[in-house]
C-alpha cells in the first residue's frame, strides 16, 4: 500500500516520512501491549510517548508541513535505525493481544450496569463479521475492527446493532429515570475494563500487513477505526426501535439505521447533542473543555415508518406558554394542585392552567389525558399559531417560488437556460403541498436577467406572456403586481409558453455581463409586494461585473493565503450583501443559489445572502450539459420538492443554570436570542452552543426547548417544538461517557469555519488541536485510572475524535494551499455551516465501499472500509462518497467481469472516464452497484456527481484527497501523525 503512495512522487521526503511512521508504529504497539493489563480500564488506547528529540515538531503537523521545516518528515536518521530494530517485536505482539482481549471483554462485561448487554454484544460482534466476513483481499480493512469492541459497552457506542441496548432501554420507562441511572453510572468505570482489547479483525489483518514491505509496516488497524465504531453501533443498535423515553440517553450514531419512537424527548433526527450529560458546574465545563452544544435540525426528514409530527390546535387561545419564560407546554411541565396549576420545567414559575386545558391528575400525579395530548407526552409536535404570531397580525399568504435565470451569453450558449426551462415545465407540477391538499398553494414567478432584469407577467388570462424589463438596476423595483406570482395550475399554458420562449428570446444574446445583488433585491421586493414569504431560485454563472449594486471584482489572491488577511477571502467583498441579507430575512425571502462558474465568482460574496436566509448553495464547476445535467436537475428537483418552513424564527429555551450563547448555521441573528431564517428546510441544521450561568441541578437535569415559528407551505403559521432533556453530573466521567463525537465534529467544524472570518487560519487550527488535546488530557487526568504519562488514553466515546479532527483540519477550508481554489473553500465553508450531524460525518470522513467482492444476492450495502490508500487494491473497485462528490475507483486489475458488467466494455483500458453515470445494463453487477449508488445518494442534500477514476491516472490525485486517513497531497497530516501530535500535546498538558 505504501508503495502505491510512492508512485506519484517517490521522493526523499517519503523515505523520511516512512521512517517516522515506523517510529510511531513502534510506540503505538508498545502502548497496546500495556493496555492489555487488566487494570487499565477506561483506556481505549495507550500510547507511549515518543522519544522527545526525534519527534521534533509533531506539535502540529498539518500546519507545520510547509511552514515549519521541523515536521514529521524530517525525523532524525539516528532514531530511524533504532525504530527499525524494534519493529519486529511489535508486529508480533500486535496479534497476540487481540486474541486475548476478546475473551477479556466478555468476561469484563457481566459486572457492568449494562451487564445483560455486553455479553451478547460481544458475541454478536464475533458473529457479526465486519472483519472476518471480508475475504482475503480485504484484509486491509480487517484492521478496522481493531478498536471496535471498545465502544460497545459505553452508551456512546450504543448503535443499536443487535438490539441489545435497546430492549434494555425500553424497559426503562417504567423506572424513574434519575435514580435508576445514577448508580449505573457509578459502576461505569470498572466495567470498561479491557474492552478496548477486542480485535475481532486482528487476525486476518495480520497476513495482509506481512504482505506489504515487511520491515516497514505499521499496523493502522491498531489505532481507533471510525469504520469499526460505526459498524459496531450498527450491529448493536441498527434496525431496532429507539425510544426517547429517558433523559440523557445517548442515541444511536447517525450512521446507524433504526426506528425512533418519540416518547417525550425529541428524536435524534431533530436534535443531537455533543454530550448528553452536562457538567454541573461551569468550572467542570471549563476543565473538560468539551463544547456543550446541540445540533438542531428542526425540519429533519423522518422515514415513512416513523410518526410525523402531531399538530396541536388550541384555536384562538393559541399555544399554552409559561408566563415568565414563555416556554411552550411540553412534557417538562409539572402539573400540581390537582391539575389546576403547573410548574414550568424551565424557569420553575408556577402558572395557572387555562380552564379549557384543565384536566385531573391520576394517582402518580400525571394528567389523565397525558397520552392524548402530544404536547404532554411527546418530545416534538407542532402548534397552530394564532394571529399574534403572524406578521402584522395578518394571516400569511402561501409562499411563492421565484425562478431567476441568468440569460447571459454563457448560460444560453451552454444550453443551461433551455435545460432549466424545459425542466421547470414538469417540475412545477411537483411543488410541495400539504398532505391533505390536492395541489400546491405555492405561487410561482419568473425573472430572467443579464445586466438588466426581465420580469414576466404570466397571468392566466393572457394570450401570451408579457416581458417587463427593469434596467434601473441601481434601485431595482418590481414592475408589476398582478400576474407576476401565479398559480401554476391556472397559468399553465402561459407559463409553458414563456418557458418555451425564454431560450429563443435570448438565443442571439451577446451580453456577457451580469448583475447579482439587484436580482436578489428584485425577488425580495416581489415577495414583499405580494406580502408573502418565499424562495428565490437563482441560476447564475459569472462574477457580477456589470455596473450595479453588489458589483464584484476578481479579488482572488493566492498571496493572501496563510496571512492575517486570508480571512478577507471568506468575507463578502462589499457590504451591500450583508444589508441585502438582512432585508431578505426581514421579508422572509430565502435565496437558493445554483452556480455554474467557469472561474472565480467570489462565492464568499455571492453566497452570503443564501447563507443567511437559510438557502442552499449549489455549485457546478465548468458545467457541461451532457455530463452535469443529471446532477443539477436532481438537485433542482429535490430542492423544489423539499418541505420547507418559511419566514421562520427559532428560539432555544433552556432550564435555569445554562443558556444558549452561540448559534451556527444558515441563519441570521438580529439579536442574541432569536434565530431568524427566511426559510428552513429538512437539511438545515443549527448548531447551538450552551454555557453555564449557574450550577446545574443533577435531579432536574438540563432541559432544552427549541421552538420554531414558521409559515407552512400552505401558508399556515405554525410552531414546531422540540424538547430534549439532558442529564447533569458532577462527575466528569459521566460527561465523557455520553459524548457524541459526530456532534462534536459538527460543532468544531462550524465554530472553526465561523472563526476563520475573524482569525487567521493558523490560529483556528491551533485552537482545534489544543482543544482536542485539552479534552483528552482532562479525561486522562480526571477519569482515567493512573498510568504512565506516555500512554495515550482516549475516552471510549471520543476515540475517533482525533481522526475526525484531523479530517476537519485537512478539509479544504482549513488548508491554506494555493492549489485549492478559493471559491471551493468558500463553498465548502458555506455548506458545512448548515449541515446536520450526519452530513458533517460523511463530509469529513467519506464512505469508502469496496464493490469488487459483492454478495450479489443480498440487498445489503457492503461494509465501508477506512479511508486510506492501504485499503485499496489493484484488483479492487471502490466507491467513495462524501456527500458532495462520488468516485468510482478502479484498480488496474479490476476483474474483467466486473468491468464488463458495469460498463459493457471488455477491459480496463476501454473504460471511459468521461461518463458521470453508470450505464443502465441488465446484469446483476450493474443493478447491484446502481442500487448501492442510489442508497448512498438517498437522503443526501446534494446530488453527488459520479467520477470514474482509474488507478494510476491523473484524476486519481483528486480522489486521493478523500483518503482522509492518509497524508494529504496538500500537506495534511496522516491519521497516525496527527494522533502522535495530539498525544504529544496531551503529554505537555499533563506535565
Amino acid at each position: 500500500m505504501l508503495q502505491l503512495l510512492h508512485i506519484p512522487n517517490p521522493s526523499q521526503e517519503w523515505e523520511a516520512f516512512l521512517q517516522v511512521l515506523d517510529h510511531l508504529i513502534l510506540h503505538f504497539i508498545m502502548g497496546i501491549m500495556e493496555t492489555l493489563t487488566p487494570h487499565m480500564q477506561h483506556l481505549s488506547l495507550v500510547f507511549q510517548s515518543p522519544p522527545p528529540p526525534n519527534n521534533t515538531g509533531p506539535s502540529y503537523p498539518p500546519s507545520s508541513l510547509h511552514s515549519q521545516p521541523a515536521s514529521p518528515h524530517t525525523a532524525s536518521t539516528s532514531c530511524t535505525t533504532q525504530l527499525a530494530n524494534q519493529l519486529n517485536s511489535m508486529q508480533i505482539n500486535s496479534y497476540g493481544p487481540s486474541a486475548i482481549q476478546s475473551s477479556h471483554t466478555s468476561s469484563g462485561h457481566p459486572a457492568s450496569f449494562q451487564g445483560p448487554q455486553p455479553l451478547p454484544l460481544t458475541q454478536h460482534q464475533m458473529a457479526l463479521p465486519p472483519g472476518p466476513q471480508i475475504p482475503p483481499p480485504a484484509n486491509n480493512f480487517s484492521g478496522l475492527c481493531a478498536q471496535s469492541s471498545l465502544p460497545n459497552m459505553a452508551r456512546q457506542d450504543g448503535i443499536p446493532g443487535s438490539g441489545l441496548p435497546n430492549p434494555n432501554l425500553q424497559q426503562l420507562p417504567g423506572q424513574t429515570p434519575g435514580p435508576g441511572y445514577h448508580p449505573q453510572q457509578g459502576n461505569y468505570g470498572p466495567q470498561m475494563a479491557g474492552s478496548q482489547l477486542s480485535y475481532p479483525g486482528a487476525f486476518p489483518g495480520g497476513p495482509a500487513q506481512l504482505s506489504g514491505p515487511p520491515q516497514k509496516r505499521l499496523d493502522p488497524d491498531s489505532i481507533p477505526s471510525p469504520i469499526q465504531v460505526i459498524e459496531n453501533d450498527k450491529s448493536s443498535r441498527g434496525g431496532q426501535i429507539y425510544a426517547t423515553n429517558t433523559r440523557g440517553q445517548v442515541p444511536p450514531l447517525v450512521t446507524t439505521d433504526c426506528l425512533i419512537q418519540d416518547q417525550g424527548h425529541a428524536s435524534p433526527r431533530y436534535i443531537r447533542c455533543t454530550t448528553y450529560c452536562f457538567p454541573s458546574t461551569s468550572d467542570m465545563a471549563k476543565q473538560a473543555r468539551i463544547p456543550l452544544a446541540a445540533v438542531i435540525q428542526p425540519f429533519a426528514t423522518v422515514p415513512q415508518n416513523e410518526t410525523p409530527l402531531y399538530v396541536v390546535n388550541h384555536g384562538e387561545a393559541g399555544p399554552i406558554r409559561c408566563n415568565r419564560c414563555k416556554a411552550y407546554m411540553c412534557p417538562f411541565m409539572q402539573f400540581i394542585e390537582g391539575g389546576r396549576r403547573y410548574q414550568c420545567g424551565f424557569c420553575n414559575c408556577i402558572n395557572d392552567v387555562p380552564p379549557f386545558f384543565f384536566q385531573h391528575l391520576d394517582h402518580i400525579g400525571r394528567r389523565v389525558d397525558h397520552y392524548e395530548r402530544p404536547e404532554l407526552s411527546l418530545g416534538s409536535y407542532e402548534y397552530v399559531a394564532t394571529l399574534d404570531y403572524c406578521r402584522n397580525n395578518k394571516p400569511p399568504n402561501p409562499p411563492a417560488y421565484i425562478f431567476m435565470i441568468d440569460v447571459s451569453y454563457r448560460n444560453i450558449n451552454s444550453g443551461l437556460v433551455k435545460l432549466i426551462c424545459d425542466e421547470l415545465k414538469t417540475l412545477l407540477d411537483k411543488l410541495p403541498r400539504e398532505e391533505q391538499e390536492e395541489s400546491s398553494a405555492i405561487r410561482v414567478g419568473f425573472v430572467t436577467y443579464n445586466k438588466v432584469l426581465h420580469f414576466f407577467n404570466v397571468k392566466s388570462n393572457l394570450a401570451q406572456p408579457q416581458m417587463m424589463v427593469v434596467s434601473d438596476v441601481g434601485e431595482v423595483f418590481v414592475p408589476l403586481l398582478d400576474g407576476f406570482l401565479v398559480n401554476f395550475q391556472e397559468s399553465r399554458s402561459v407559463v409553458n409558453n414563456l418557458l418555451d420562449q425564454i431560450p429563443e428570446m435570448f438565443a442571439d444574446t451577446n451580453e456577457s455581463e451580469t448583475i447579482f445583488a439587484p436580482v436578489i433585491q428584485a425577488g425580495m421586493e416581489a415577495l414583499k409586494a405580494a406580502e408573502c414569504a418565499g424562495k428565490l431560485f437563482i441560476f447564475h454563472s459569472s462574477l457580477p461585473t456589470a455596473e450595479a449594486p453588489g458589483k464584484l471584482r476578481n479579488r482572488d489572491d493566492k498571496k493572501l493565503l496563510n496571512t492575517d488577511k486570508e480571512k478577507t477571502l471568506f468575507q463578502p467583498q462589499v457590504n451591500s450583501y450583508e444589508s441585502l441579507a438582512r432585508d431578505c430575512v426581514a421579508n422572509g425571502c430565502c435565496v437558493n443559489l445554483f452556480l455554474f462558474p467557469n472561474q472565480y465568482v467570489d462565492i464568499a460574496s455571492l453566497g452570503l445572502v443564501t447563507m443567511h436566509t437559510g438557502g442552499t448553495l449549489y455549485k457546478y464547476n465548468n458545467f457541461q450539459l451532457n455530463s452535469d445535467s443529471p446532477q443539477f436537475l436532481t438537485d433542482l428537483r429535490r430542492d423544489i420538492e423539499k418541505k420547507t418552513g418559511f419566514d421562520a424564527i427559532m428560539r432555544v429555551r433552556t432550564s435555569t443554570g445554562f443558556r444558549a450563547t452561540d448559534f451556527f448555521g444558515a441563519i441570521y441573528m438580529n439579536n442574541t436570542t432569536d434565530v431568524e431564517m427566511a426559510a428552513v428546510d429538512c437539511d438545515k441544521a443549527v448548531t447551538v452552543e450552551f454555557k453555564h450561568d449557574d450550577k446545574l441541578n443533577e435531579d432536574s437535569g438540563a432541559l432544552i426547548q427549541c421552538a420554531v415559528l414558521y409559515t407552512s407551505i400552505s401558508g399556515q403559521r405554525r410552531l414546531r417544538i422540540h424538547n430534549i432533556g439532558l442529564n447533569c453530573s458532577t462527575q466528569l466521567a459521566d460527561v465523557y461517557k455520553t459524548c457524541e463525537t459526530d456532534a462534536l465534529i459538527n460543532f468544531f467544524a462550524k465554530s472553526a469555519f465561523k472563526a476563520i472570518l475573524s482569525q487567521p487560519l493558523k490560529a483556528v487550527r491551533e485552537i482545534l488541536v489544543s482543544q482536542t488535546a485539552h479534552m483528552l488530557a482532562c479525561y486522562r487526568k480526571n477519569c482515567a485510572s493512573p498510568s504512565a504519562v506516555s500512554q495515550l488514553i482516549l475516552p471510549d466515546a471520543m476515540k475517533v475524535l482525533p481522526v475526525y479532527v484531523n479530517c476537519l483540519l485537512k478539509s479544504s477550508v482549513l488548508t491554506g494551499r494555493p492549489e485549492i481554489p478559493t471559491d471551493e473553500r468558500a463553498y465548502h465553508r458555506q455548506l458545512v455551516m448548515s449541515m446536520g450531524v450526519a452530513d458533517t460525518q460523511l463530509f469529513f470522513y467519506p464512505q469508502l465501499l469496496p464493490i469488487h467482492n459483492l454478495d450479489l444476492k443480498s440487498d445489503a450495502v457492503p461494509a465501508a472500509v477506512r479511508c486510506s490508500e492501504e485499503r485499496l487494491s489493484e484488483g479492487g473497485a471502490f466507491i467513495l462518497a462524501n456527500g458532495l462528490s462520488m468516485f468510482l475507483w478502479l484498480g488496474v486489475s479490476t476483474p474483467p467481469e466486473l468491468i464488463q458488467g458495469l460498463f459493457n466494455v471488455p477491459s480496463f483500458a476501454h473504460i471511459s472516464t468521461e461518463a458521470t453515470l453508470l450505464p443502465d445494463l441488465a446484469n446483476t453487477y450493474s443493478k447491484k452497484i446502481k442500487s448501492i449508488v442510489e442508497h448512498i445518494q438517498n437522503q443526501k442534500p446534494y446530488t453527488m456527481k459520479l467520477m470514474i477514476v482509474k488507478q494510476r491516472e491523473q484524476p486519481e490525485m483528486l480522489f486521493r484527497q478523500f483518503l482522509v486517513e492518509d497524508k494529504s497531497i496538500h500537506g495534511g497530516a496522516s491519521y497516525v501523525d496527527f494522533l502522535c501530535c495530539v498525544h504529544k500535546e496531551i503529554c505537555q498538558l499533563l506535565n
Partner: protein, 767 residues
C-alpha cells in the same frame, strides 16, 4: 390705390404677415410715441396652394453676417450678373446656374409676386416622421377603452412609413418594444426617480457599445435602425402588433385605496419619452403625444399628492404661495421642454379629466415646442376624439398639416432691429447686428426654433425702429424684413420658405395721417394682447391690466381728436375705432382674468392664444355673435346683452366654445313642438340654421370647441352671459329700459362705462 384694408388683406394672403403699422415711423423717438409697437403677426407656413415650391437652393448674400436670401427687392445688374443685397447692400455675384438670367428671364425669387417663396432643398438623410404615444393608464375603464380606440384608429391616419412608439405609464412607466413576436416586451421604470438622458438611454440599451462587439461578426455599418427599431417601428410593419398591444392595455394594476389618487408618474414618463427620442432621433420631426387623465401624483413633476383630501392648487393657492409642488414641477417640465426643443421634437398634451391635470405646470412642454394642448372632460367625448383625429388632418394639397423643427430667422434693414417674438417657439440665441437690446417677448435673438407648427401657427414678432431722429430717411425709402423659415415638411422634405416684405417709411411729424391710416387695429389688438398675456404669465394680473389701460389711454391721447378736458369731443378715426372695444373684451377675457378659471384652464386658453392666427385670436378676444330670427337673414350682432332677445336664436363662437342659445320665445315654441308641425317648417329651418353653421365651425376648428346648446334660463346659458357686454345689469336695467335684451347679473363695467372713462382719461390734461 387700393384701400389699406385691401392692402392688408392682400399681404396677409400672400405673405401671412400682418403689421400693426403698415407705414413705419422713421425715427426711434416717433416710433415709441406711437404706443403700439411696430410688430407683425407672422404665419410662417400659411397655406399657399397656389405657391409651387422651387426645387433648388436659395441664393444667399455672401456677407457672412447677413446671408439674406435673394428676393424681389434686390437690385439686380443683369449684365454684370450681380445683385445687391437690400439689407446690407453687399454686391453679390450670381451663382453659375444663374448665368442665363435677364430682365425677361428672371428666376422666380426675383418676381414681385414671389415675395414669399418656398425652396425644397436636399439636405441630410430623410427620416420618417415619428409619433411617440405616451399613454396614462390610470384611467377609468371607459375612458381607457375610448382612448385605446382612438389610438388604434390613429394608426390608420399616420403616414405609412412613420415610426411609432408607445410608452404607457401609471405608477410605473413602460416603454414598449414593438418588434417582438410571441411575447410582448416592455422596459419598466419607476415613476419616482428622475433619470438623466444618459441613464435612460443606457437603461433602454440605446447607448452604442464603445467597442464594436465580437470579432467573428462583420461590422454592420447601419447600426442605427437596429437600435431604434426596438421602440420605434414603421406603422405599416407593426400596426397589427400595436393594435393588439393597445387592445391589451390594462388599467394600472396597482391598487388605489379609498381616499387616494392613483399614483401617476407623468413627469418621469415624459422624461423617458424625451430621452428616448433624444438618443435615437435628434433633430428630426417627432411628436411626443401625451395622453393623461389626471394630475401627476408622484415623482419629479408631481403636481399634487395622492391624498384626495388635498385638492389641486387653485389660483387662490398660487397667490397665497400655497402650491407646494408647483415651482418644482414647473421647473421639471421646463427642463424637459427645453431639451425637447433642442432636439427639435414637440410635445402634445391631451389632458382629459374633470379635475385639473397639471396643465399649468406642463404648459411649457407644449408652449416651447409648438405642440398641441387639448383639454377635455373625458377621452370618451367627441371633443377629444375629433380633436385628436384632426391632428392628422390633411391640408388642401393632401399633405399633413404639420411641420417640424422649424428655424425662423428674421432679417431687417438697418433702420430696424428685432425686439423679440411671442409664440410657440424658443430662442436660438443668435445675436447679430439686427437684434435689439430691448426685449419684447422672447428676445435677444434673430432666430427662433419652432419644433412643431402647422399652417395656422402664428408668431408675433416685435421690432424696434432704431433710426435716429436726426438721420431722416429719404422720401420713398422703404424698410424691409425678411423671414426665412427652414423646416421639415410633413413629407419629410427639408424646405425653406422665404418671405420678404417692405413698408414705406414716413416722418411721423409731417405724415402722421399716413401712418394713422395704415394702422391695422386688428393686428395691433392681437399684438398688444399677446404682449399682455405674455406679461400675465409672469406678472400680477392687475399690473397687466393697468399696463394695458395705460397703453390704451396713451394711444387715444395720441391719435384721438378731442378738446382738452372735454370727453364729449373725443373722436377716433376709423382705423382706430374698434381698438378700444377689443381692449375692453380682452380685459374681460380668460387670458387676463383668472377668476372662475382654474390655473389649468388659464394655461390652456393662453396656450392657444399665443399660437393662433389673427382671425382666431380676435375671436378669442371678442367672441362673435350671430343672431337668427324670422326678421331677416342671419346677421352678426353686437356682443352685448341687448342682443339677447326672446325671439332670437344666438350662435356665439368664442373659439373654445360654440354656444347656441334659444331665446325665451323660441325655446317655448320648441317645447311646444312647432318644429314638428308641417305648417311651421320655417321654424324648423330656423332652428336648424345655427346648428348647420355651428357644424361648419366645428368641422374646421382645432382644437374642437366645446359645443353648448342651451336656451333662455338654461344653466349653460352662463357661457353666453359671461361673454356679452353687460350693458344691462340688475343695476341699470330700468335706467336703460325699453325693448332690449337680458340683464346680466354682474358688477362688471359695461363697454359704455368703459368708453366713458376712457374718453375722460384720454382728454384729461392731468394724465
Amino acid at each position: 390705390m387700393a384701400t389699406y384694408l385691401e392692402f392688408i388683406q392682400q399681404n396677409e394672403e400672400r405673405d401671412g404677415v400682418r403689421f400693426s403699422w403698415n407705414v413705419w415711423p422713421s425715427s426711434r423717438l416717433e416710433a415709441t410715441r406711437m404706443v403700439v409697437p411696430l410688430a407683425c403677426l407672422l404665419t410662417p407656413l400659411r397655406e399657399r396652394p397656389d405657391l409651387p415650391p422651387v426645387q433648388y437652393e436659395p441664393v444667399l448674400c455672401s456677407r457672412p453676417t447677413c446671408k439674406a436670401v435673394l428676393n424681389p427687392l434686390c437690385q439686380v445688374d443683369y449684365r454684370a450678373k450681380l445683385w445687391a443685397c437690400n439689407f446690407c447692400f453687399q454686391r453679390n455675384q450670381f451663382p453659375p446656374a444663374y448665368a442665363g438670367i435677364s430682365e425677361v428671364n428672371q428666376p422666380a425669387e426675383l418676381m414681385p409676386q414671389f415675395s414669399t417663396i418656398e425652396y425644397i432643398v436636399q439636405r441630410g438623410p430623410q427620416t420618417p416622421l415619428i409619433f411617440l404615444y405616451v399613454v396614462d393608464t390610470c384611467l377609468e375603464e371607459e375612458d381607457l377603452q375610448a382612448l385605446k380606440e382612438s389610438l388604434q384608429m390613429s394608426l390608420s391616419l399616420l403616414p405609412a412609413d412613420a415610426l411609432v412608439g408607445l410608452i404607457t405609464f401609471g405608477r410605473m412607466i413602460q416603454v414598449h418594444e414593438l418588434s417582438c413576436e410571441g411575447i410582448s416586451k416592455s422596459y419598466v421604470f419607476r415613476g419616482t426617480k428622475d433619470l438623466t438622458a444618459k441613464q435612460i438611454q443606457d437603461m433602454l440599451g440605446l447607448s452604442r457599445p464603445a467597442v464594436p462587439i465580437q470579432q467573428g461578426r462583420p461590422l454592420q455599418a447601419p447600426e442605427q435602425p437596429v437600435i431604434s427599431s426596438r421602440f420605434l417601428q414603421p406603422v405599416h410593419k407593426i400596426d397589427m402588433n400595436l393594435t393588439d398591444l393597445l387592445g391589451e392595455l390594462q388599467r394600472d394594476p396597482w391598487p388605489v385605496t379609498q381616499g387616494k389618487r392613483p399614483l401617476r408618474s407623468t413627469g418621469v414618463a415624459l422624461s423617458i419619452a424625451v430621452g428616448l427620442l433624444e438618443g435615437t432621433f435628434p433633430n428630426t420631426g417627432a411628436r411626443i403625444m401625451l395622453f393623461t387623465g389626471g394630475p401627476p401624483t408622484q415623482g419629479p413633476g408631481m403636481v399634487v399628492g395622492d391624498e384626495l383630501k388635498t385638492p389641486i392648487r387653485s389660483w387662490h393657492d398660487i397667490e397665497k404661495d400655497n402650491a407646494r409642488f408647483m415651482k418644482k414641477a414647473t421647473k421639471h417640465y421646463e427642463t424637459l421642454a427645453n431639451r425637447t426643443a433642442t432636439n427639435g421634437h414637440c410635445i402634445d398634451i391631451y389632458a382629459c379629466a374633470l379635475d385639473q391635470t397639471g396643465l399649468l405646470e406642463m404648459k411649457c412642454c407644449a408652449n416651447l415646442t409648438g405642440g398641441h394642448m387639448v383639454m377635455g372632460d373625458s377621452f370618451n367625448t367627441s371633443l377629444f376624439k375629433q380633436t385628436f383625429q384632426r391632428v392628422f388632418n390633411k391640408g388642401l394639397n393632401g399633405e399633413f398639416r404639420m411641420a417640424f423643427g422649424a428655424n425662423l430667422e428674421v432679417k431687417t434693414s438697418r433702420e430696424l432691429k428685432i425686439a423679440g417674438a411671442i409664440g410657440p417657439c424658443v430662442s436660438l440665441n443668435v445675436k447679430g447686428p439686427c437684434v435689439s437690446e430691448n426685449e419684447l417677448g422672447i428676445g435677444g435673438t434673430s432666430q427662433w426654433k419652432i419644433c412643431g407648427l402647422d399652417p395656422c401657427t402664428t408668431l408675433a414678432i416685435y421690432f424696434e425702429v432704431v433710426n435716429q431722429h436726426n438721420a431722416p430717411i429719404p422720401q420713398g425709402g422703404r424698410g424691409a424684413v425678411q423671414f426665412v423659415t427652414q423646416y421639415q415638411h410633413s413629407s419629410t422634405q427639408k424646405r425653406i420658405r422665404v418671405t420678404t416684405i417692405a413698408r414705406n417709411w414716413a416722418d411721423a411729424q409731417s405724415q402722421l395721417q399716413h401712418i394713422e391710416a395704415a394702422f391695422d387695429q386688428e393686428a395691433a389688438a392681437v399684438l398688444m394682447a399677446r404682449l399682455g398675456v405674455y406679461r400675465a404669465e409672469s406678472e400680477e394680473g392687475p399690473d397687466v391690466l393697468r399696463w394695458l389701460d395705460r397703453q390704451l389711454i396713451r394711444l387715444c391721447q395720441k391719435f384721438g381728436q378731442y378738446n382738452k378736458d372735454d370727453p364729449n369731443s373725443f373722436r377716433l378715426s376709423e382705423s382706430f375705432s374698434l381698438y378700444p372695444q377689443f381692449m375692453f373684451h380682452l380685459r374681460r377675457s380668460p387670458f387676463l382674468q383668472v377668476f372662475n378659471n382654474s390655473p389649468d384652464e388659464s394655461s390652456y386658453y393662453r396656450h392657444h392664444f399665443a399660437r393662433q392666427d389673427l382671425t382666431q385670436s380676435l375671436i378669442m378676444i371678442q367672441p362673435i355673435l350671430y343672431a337668427y330670427s324670422f326678421h331677416g337673414p342671419p346677421e352678426p350682432v353686437l356682443l352685448d346683452s341687448s342682443s339677447i332677445l326672446p325671439d332670437r336664436i344666438l350662435l356665439m363662437d368664442t373659439f373654445f366654445q360654440i354656444v347656441i342659445y334659444l331665446g325665451e320665445t323660441i325655446a317655448q315654441w320648441q317645447k311646444a313642438g312647432y318644429q314638428d308641425m308641417p305648417e311651421y317648417e320655417n321654424f324648423k329651418h330656423l332652428l336648424q340654421a345655427p346648428l348647420d353653421d355651428a357644424q361648419e365651425i366645428l368641422q374646421t376648428r382645432f382644437p374642437m370647441p366645446r359645443y353648448v346648446h342651451t336656451e333662455h334660463g338654461g344653466s349653460q346659458a352662463r357661457f353666453l352671459l359671461s361673454k356679452v357686454n353687460p350693458s344691462q345689469t340688475h343695476n341699470n336695467l330700468y335706467a336703460w329700459g325699453q325693448e332690449s335684451g337680458a340683464p346680466i347679473l354682474t358688477d362688471d363695467v359695461s363697454l359704455q362705462v368703459f368708453m366713458d372713462h376712457l374718453k375722460k382719461l384720454a382728454v384729461s390734461s392731468a394724465a
